[in-house]
Amino acid sequence: MSRVGVLRFPGTNCDRDIWKSLELKGKNPQWLWFEETFDPQAFEAFVLPGGFSYGDYLRSGALAALSPAMESLKEADQLGLPIFGICNGFQILCEAGLLPGALMRNEGGRFIDQWVDLKLENVSPAWSPLEKGQVHCMPMAHADGRFFINETGLQDLRMNNQIWLTYEKNPNGSVANIAGIMNKKGNVVGMMPHPDRALFDWMGSRDGLRFFDHKAVSV
């Protein structure tokens, strides 16, 4: 069974949701504590859950990005292992430099909690066997989710097919309607909305379940 490391920081609050999501996909989730380094080769993939690490002090994700566990996660990236950040996890990956861009306060200045439709723009070679053009419905819940990148950065994202997901209707002023991106290699992906909050029909949608799968990566 595939061992997937789930990183926990002080203030992470979607960790149990991620655990459940991974179990539903037949994975073997393992907790990873922010204060400790780990052996990246002991895992097949990693997830950074949502929440409010360090109470969003300094900038969302900025202090968590400096944790010892993140040093090990950077080694995992060097090995090309799949890494998936959701909401605060996405913010942490950007602050750590594992993904380009930054997540800023929503254009309207408010925390927004609503259902959104997301279009898959490009397929990540490492995470989730999703199809290009497919639309997924799930909740978003954030105040600091406005994706920002400068003009040249955006051109790079487009040229390298790094735009992973876009909002069908832009809720927060994100550049180019971006809801999720990937790094150049495609093994690191991040998204603001919560697939972990759309796992069963009774939750309103089970589209999110599709996101908790990764392809086998030979290390």
Partner: protein
């Protein structure tokens, strides 16, 4: 040695806090041309000499006290 670090959003980046402050005070009759809201950080750092202390403070700023994609910073020594 103590250093004060001013961090402000880059002018080309939408500053939602600055906009909200400007709009609110404009409603109260003030003639606000623009407003930026940032952070003011005071650091007390060790060093063998003033140059090293300043280098340590600068290293901290660059390691994460500001985000170069969206912010600018200024640093000065204070008493």
């Amino acid at each position: 040695m103590k250093f004060a670090i001013k961090v402000l959003p880059k002018p080309e980046v939408l500053d939602t806090q600055g906009r909200a402050v400007a709009e609110t005070f404009t409603r109260h009759g003030f003639d606000v041309k623009s407003c930026q809201v940032g952070r003011y950080i005071v650091l007390d750092v060790e060093g063998q000499n003033p140059e090293e202390a300043k280098a340590n403070a600068t290293a901290m700023v660059k390691k994460g006290l500001y985000n170069p994609l969206i912010e600018n910073f200024e640093m000065e020594e204070i008493k």
